[in-house]
Structures are given as structure tokens and as C-alpha cells.
């Protein structure tokens, strides 16, 4: 389907809005799961399965799971990032199936953080940051 330059620009804006709205909208929950080699080797596929099952069991149908590459926190794999309104974006590491269930029950439903598994963002986002920030 070849695109023109203008179509590329429109697509970027549309998608940006879609991802941005997702973050702010009252009822959408975004779960990013690191599925690089190191994440998968540490069991990310099992975590993905547990997460989708638990979300289903709890009747949560507004959560969107997105598979990403590795954040680079290989010592803490598997990693998840949860973005939802009313809560700061949080990266969880060393996630086991049990921790994944606790994240659904406590973080997503209970709006509290799961102790011992919160990790820090490794760097500021260079794509979003304003000009001359560095």
C-alpha cells in the first residue's frame, strides 16, 4: 500500500494519540511485558499466560497487554510495566507467577504497589524530552 509523506505524518499523530489516550483514559490499563531473549529465558511466557488468565478470572477486560523488547534490566527479568490512570507508571522486576497475580490483585484492583518488586526506570525518555534537555 505505499504511503505518502503526509500519510506517514497522519499515521504518527493518530497512533500517538491512541497510545497517549490509553494512558490517560479512566478505564484503560496498559501492561508492558519484556519479551526479549533474556525475559523469555527467565519465564516471561509463563508470566504472560498467568497474567491473561488472572485478568480473565477477575473479570478485568480493559487491560491491554503489549509485548516489548528488553528494558536492559536483565538481572530483574522477567519485567513488567503497568500504566494506568491514577497510578504512577511502575516497573516490576523478578516477577514470578505468584507476583504476577499479586500485581493484578493489589496494583490493578487494589491500587497499591507490590513490595519488593518495584524497580526504577533506567533512563529518561529521550524521544519525549524537550530540546536541549541533555
Amino acid at each position: 500500500m505505499g504511503m505518502s509523506r503526509e500519510e506517514l505524518r497522519l499515521l504518527r499523530e493518530k497512533k500517538r494519540l491512541e497510545l497517549h489516550e490509553g494512558k490517560d483514559s479512566e478505564n484503560r490499563i496498559e501492561i508492558l511485558i519484556g519479551m526479549g531473549s533474556s525475559g523469555i529465558a527467565s519465564g516471561a511466557k509463563d508470566i504472560l499466560k498467568t497474567l491473561s488468565e488472572t485478568l480473565k478470572e477477575r473479570g478485568i477486560n480493559n487491560a491491554m497487554i503489549r509485548k516489548t523488547g528488553s528494558l536492559g534490566l536483565d538481572h530483574a527479568e522477567p519485567t513488567l510495566e503497568i500504566k494506568m490512570s491514577g497510578m504512577p507508571d511502575i516497573i516490576y522486576g523478578k516477577v514470578t507467577s505468584d507476583v504476577a497475580r499479586r500485581i493484578v490483585d493489589r496494583h490493578i484492583l487494589g491500587r497499591e504497589l507490590v513490595c519488593g518488586h518495584v524497580f526504577d526506570k533506567p533512563a529518561q525518555d529521550v524521544v519525549k524530552e524537550p530540546e536541549h534537555a541533555i
Binding site: M1, H75, P122, A123
Partner: protein, 592 residues
């Protein structure tokens, strides 16, 4: 009622020694006292890095970062920040040099890894949403090929695969002869082979489109319409995602004929390598793509003039490409403000070995080893002492404790007798034997030598054999001279970088750890207790309580002793497996 604020207390291993547990308890107690435990949650976290400034407390959603927090500071954090909403100024991180430092507390700056872990690598629209293909679109419609090269020149970007050759020069060589050539090729070198390095894999798995976009930019700048990605078959996930990325890019008209209606054609194919280290060398890589045996050829002519099928060829590494779209979009000046005088931008390191937070880190050039190991990497596990960091893989060398504060860039690493290489950084502690590690790298180079030229084929084997003798306690003082004597001709006469750099680990470790070599040779002793032939395990009768764990675990049944009485190792039958040493909870088994 949901919590209004979250108070994160870093509970990494080093912070734990700096009373983070007491701070956690104090904060908890204070929230109960003030009746605000419904409003703020106190949370223990994993290691946040920046351990030299620990304990660390971070308040969310305010993103306030407190350092060197003591138990006595808990009250100020609760009263002033949580209750009154005023951040506690004197606990906030201050930079020694605010003009030079970034305004962020994180040491990392992610340019090459900007999308890794953030976008879905299998969805091109997520890449596009984060400025993907904006650089290509701008270049095709607003820039001449020479403008792109000019931007790269301003940026100061140098090859991230090893040698650090200025990227713009490679492009310019090809650009300048493009009218004389009927065909020009762009190659992406994804044959990542250094032990411990995996940044290229991670970029291709996490953000494949950025590499495709950069290759198209190279194509436009150098007058090429065809690119190849040479990637090892051992990276199945990266290959799968690359194929998906290429299919989507073609579907959206960002690869193929008439890209974005500009009239520019560019397409990419993948070539799989079988995992030979030498194929990361550019002329061997080209031979491998041509279907020949992967062996290097003498340069010049350089590939920029005469490369794939005898045509001018631009060849860059994955990480180099991943930087380029961002450089074009934000300008070379922006990029050149990051880093040191001669090494611009950032470098991704794969931090592995004896380090708490192993993983991929991207830091500005000029960051010190201490910052990488202690602030980003969280330090050495179990409180062991730092011995050295190995960079540059089998072509590099070691950086020792006395150079922990040297700003790292291409020049400083070279001056220290190591090299940047692709960015593998293996941290060693006091338990690692430097001769054994060097033997490992030589073993690797000997194994991977293609055998075409004699200095590498024979010299490498000779040096490996000498190292083997030394680790077995059969070394002589002449061996040290022989190692040095073999290294120089090998560096000078080998055909390609693999052979020329294979002696580097030996020269570097001889430079900093000659004493340790001598201990093996003269005293028949391995100070780190690694070289089995030189180690004796004994049980200290004053410490042994006779728990019998060692005698039960000994695979050769050569530890005897009565329950609750000191045990003894039968030295004649000991196979030096070290299981008793690792298994003893009391430290009674000792290495001599």
C-alpha cells in the same frame, strides 16, 4: 480510598547495609502516628542504582529523589513532603557540576536503546508513533545526500562495533565514488561475537525498525538501493522480528520501490551466518555473504571502495545504525554535545560477571567505570573487592581498580591497553584468576582463528599452550618473555583484526597483573584459588565444628572425621572440585 502518594525505599543489597530497613520501619511508624497510612504507601523496592549515594527514597507520583537518607530524615520526609507538600531540599540529589551533569539523577542516557522495552517491536505503527521514519521522511524530501553526511560529521558518531572509525567518513568515501559504480551496497553487521556482548541482539529484538530506517538513510546518502543484514543464526528471535519488521516496512511503503513517493528505492535482505567470530570482520563478512568461506582479505582496498561483489559497500554495526535516525532528526550538534571531546554520544555496555545488576546500560561517553559498576550496576555481589573489568572481549584487555575513575571513551581505553570493542564489560572480583581468564580469551581466539594467516594460526596456539602450562604450575620465567615476544609479530603481521588483537588480553594482563603470573610460575600458587593444579583444600580444625556436610558432599569420598569433631581431607585422593569449599557454612574449608 486509593493511596495519594507512594514512598519507595530502595532495598538493594548495598542500601540494606545502609539502614534502609530502619528507614522503612521509621516511615511506617510515622505514617501510623500521623494517621496518614491510608494516604501514603511505604514500599520496599529492588535496587535503584546510585548505591554510592544510598540509602535512596523516591516519592511518587512527584518523582522526587532523595539520597543519603538517614533514619532521622524520615520525619522531615513525612512532615514536610508528604503532609505539607514541600520537598525536603537538603536531601535532594545535587550534582557536583550542574553545568556538565544532566538534570536527571539517572546516569543512563538512552539513544540507541530509546525504544527497547517501550514499543512493541512487532508493530511498526508503535515505532512510527515515536518519531519512527520521521528522519527518513525528512531526509528524502528536505536533505541532499551530502547534507546527511554533513550531519553525521557534525555528530562525531564513530563505529560502535569495535574500532571506532568515524561513520561519516565511511559514508563519504562511498558517496564520492557513487557515480562511477553501477551498484552500491549497504551492510548491517549483526554478527555479534564477543563473549558477554549482546547489545546488538537486544536492539534487533526490541527495536528492529530503527536499524532498517538507518540503513535506508545510508542508502539514500550513498546512492544504494540494496542492503543486507548479516546476522548469526544463533539469534532466532532477532531474525524472526527482523523479518516481520521488513514485511511491515514494505507493506507501509517504507522499504521497496518509490519510498514515500520520493522516487527513492531501497530494499533489504537478510543473510544468516553460522556463528564464526571472524565473520564479524568486515572483509570476512563480505566473503560469507558472497557464499565464500568466511575469511578476511588484506585491506586496502577498503569495502567503501571495493566491497561486496567488488562494489562500493558501506558497512556499519547495529548499534551505530540505531543511533542514526535520532541524529538526523535532532541534528548532529545535539549528539555532539553528549560525550567527550573525541568520542561523542553514548555507548551501550553489556554489564556481566561479578555485578549485582547485570544488564544493558547506555551511558554517555566519558562516564567512569566507577559510575557504571557502582551507580548503575549496583556494585559487586557479597561485598567482594573489585579486581578488574574486561572490555573489548578477546581483542581487549582489563581495566584495574586504579583506573576506576578514568572517563571511558575510545582514546582512554586504548591508552590503558584495552579497547571499546562492541561493549562487552565483564566485571571480575578477587575470586577470579587473571591468568585463567586470559587463557579463556586465548582459547576463544584460537578456536575462532580461520587459519588463513600463520601469525594468528600458529602464534595464538603457541601462546595458549604457554598459558595452559602456567595454570598447571609448569610455567617458567622464560614463558613470560616468550609471550611478549610472540605478541608483537602477531599484532603486526596478522591479516585481520582478530589475529592482530588476539594478544591484547595477554599484554594487558601482563601489564597490570605480572605479579599474579609470577605467583603461578615462581611460587606454584594461584592467589585467587582458581587454577586447580595449584590449589590445595584444607580444613581448619579450629573452625570446623564437624557438621559432616563436606564429607557427605565429597564426590570422591576423601573427607573423613567423626561427628562434631574436625574433619580431614585426604590430599592424595582430593580431585579439587571445590564442592567442600562451597558447601561449608563456617568457612572452615580453606584454599592454599
Amino acid at each position: 480510598m486509593p493511596y495519594k502518594k507512594f514512598c519507595l525505599v530502595c532495598s538493594g543489597k548495598q542500601c540494606a547495609s545502609g539502614q534502609s530497613e530502619e528507614i522503612y520501619k521509621e516511615l511506617k511508624k510515622l505514617t501510623m502516628e500521623k494517621g496518614i497510612c491510608q494516604d501514603v504507601q511505604i514500599v520496599r523496592t529492588g535496587c535503584f542504582g546510585l548505591c554510592s549515594k544510598g540509602p535512596i527514597v523516591k516519592i511518587l507520583p512527584d518523582e522526587t529523589f532523595y539520597v543519603n537518607v538517614g533514619v532521622k530524615d524520615a520525619r522531615a520526609i513525612i512532615d514536610e513532603h508528604i503532609i505539607a507538600g514541600q520537598p525536603v531540599e537538603n536531601l535532594m540529589l545535587r550534582h557536583e557540576n550542574p553545568a556538565k551533569e544532566s538534570r536527571f539523577y539517572q546516569k543512563q542516557v538512552r539513544i540507541a536503546l530509546r525504544n527497547c522495552g517501550i514499543i512493541n517491536p512487532e508493530d511498526i505503527t508503535e515505532y512510527i508513533a515515536r518519531d519512527g521514519y520521521a528522519a527518513l521522511s525528512m531526509a528524502l524530501f528536505e536533505m541532499e545526500p551530502k547534507d546527511i553526511i554533513e550531519e553525521l560529521k557534525k555528530s562525531g558518531l564513530r563505529g560502535r562495533g569495535g574500532a571506532g572509525f568515524p561513520t561519516w567518513m565511511k559514508w563519504k568515501f562511498t558517496h564520492d565514488i557513487r557515480d562511477q559504480a553501477d551498484e552500491i551496497f549497504i551492510i548491517c553487521n549483526a554478527d555479534e561475537g564477543d563473549p558477554g556482548a549482546y547489545m546488538d541482539r537486544s536492539i534487533l529484538e526490541g527495536d528492529p525498525q530503527s536499524v532498517l530506517e538507518a540503513m535506508a538513510l545510508a542508502g539514500y546518502a550513498c546512492g544504494s538501493s540494496m542492503g543486507y543484514i548479516y546476522i548469526r543464526a544463533e539469534y532466532p528471535l532477532a531474525i524472526e522480528r527482523l523479518y516481520k519488521a521488513m514485511d511491515q516496512a514494505r507493506e507501509y511503503g517504507l522499504l521497496g520501490k518509490n519510498i514515500l513517493g520520493s522516487g527513492f528505492d531501497f530494499d533489504i535482505e537478510i543473510r544468516l551466518g553460522a556463528g564464526a567470530f571472524v565473520c564479524g570482520e568486515e572483509t570476512a563478512l563480505i566473503a560469507s555473504i558472497e557464499g565464500e568461506r568466511g575469511m578476511p582479505r588484506p585491506r586496502p582496498p577498503f569495502p567503501a571502495v571495493k566491497g561486496l561483489w567488488g562494489k562500493p559497500t558501506v558497512i556499519n554495526n547495529v548499534e551505530t545504525y540505531a543511533n542514526i535516525p535520532k541524529i538526523i532528526l535532532r541534528g548532529g550538534d545535539w549528539f555532539s554535545r553528549i560525550g567527550t571531546e573525541k568520542s561523542k554520544g553514548t555507548k551501550v555496555f553489556a554489564l556481566t560477571g561479578k555485578i549485582n545488576n547485570s544488564g544493558l546500560v547506555e551511558v554517555p561517553m566519558g562516564t567512569t567505570l566507577r559510575e557504571i559498576i557502582y551507580d548503575v550496576g549496583g556494585g559487586i555481589p557479597n561485598g567482594k573487592a573489585f579486581k578488574a573489568a574486561q572490555t573489548g572481549g578477546p581483542s581487549g584487555g582489563v581495566i584495574t581498580a586504579e583506573h576506576l575513575d578514568t572517563p571511558i571513551d575510545y582514546e582512554t581505553l586504548g591508552a590503558l591497553g584495552s579497547m571499546m570493542g562492541s561493549g562487552g564489560m565483564i566485571v571480575m572480583d578477587e575470586d577470579d584468576c587473571i591468568v585463567d581468564v586470559t587463557k579463556f580469551y586465548l582459547d576463544f581466539s584460537v578456536d575462532e582463528s580461520c587459519g588463513k594467516c600463520a601469525p594468528c594460526r600458529i602464534g595464538g596456539r603457541k601462546m595458549y599452550n604457554i598459558l595452559r602450562k602456567i595454570t598447571m604450575g609448569k610455567g617458567t620465567m622464560e614463558h613470560i618473555q616468550q609471550l611478549r615476544a610472540l605478541a608483537v609479530p602477531m599484532q603486526k603481521a596478522s591479516l585481520c583484526g582478530l589475529g592482530q588483537s588476539a594478544p591484547n588480553p595477554i599484554l594487558s594482563t601482563l601489564r597490570y597483573f605480572e605479579e599474579e603470573y609470577l605467583a603461578h610460575i615462581r611460587d606454584h600458587r594461584c592467589p585467587a584459588g582458581v587454577c586447580k593444579a595449584l590449589v590445595t583444600y584444607t580444613i581448619n580444625p579450629d573452625i570446623c565444628i564437624g557438621c559432616t556436610v563436606c564429607s557427605r558432599k565429597c564426590p570422591n569420598n576423601c573427607i573423613t572425621g567423626e561427628r562434631k569433631k574436625p574433619h580431614v581431607i585426604d590430599q592424595d585422593n582430593c580431585i579439587k572440585c571445590g564442592i567442600c569449599y562451597e558447601g561449608c557454612k563456617f568457612g572452615a574449608v580453606q584454599i592454599a
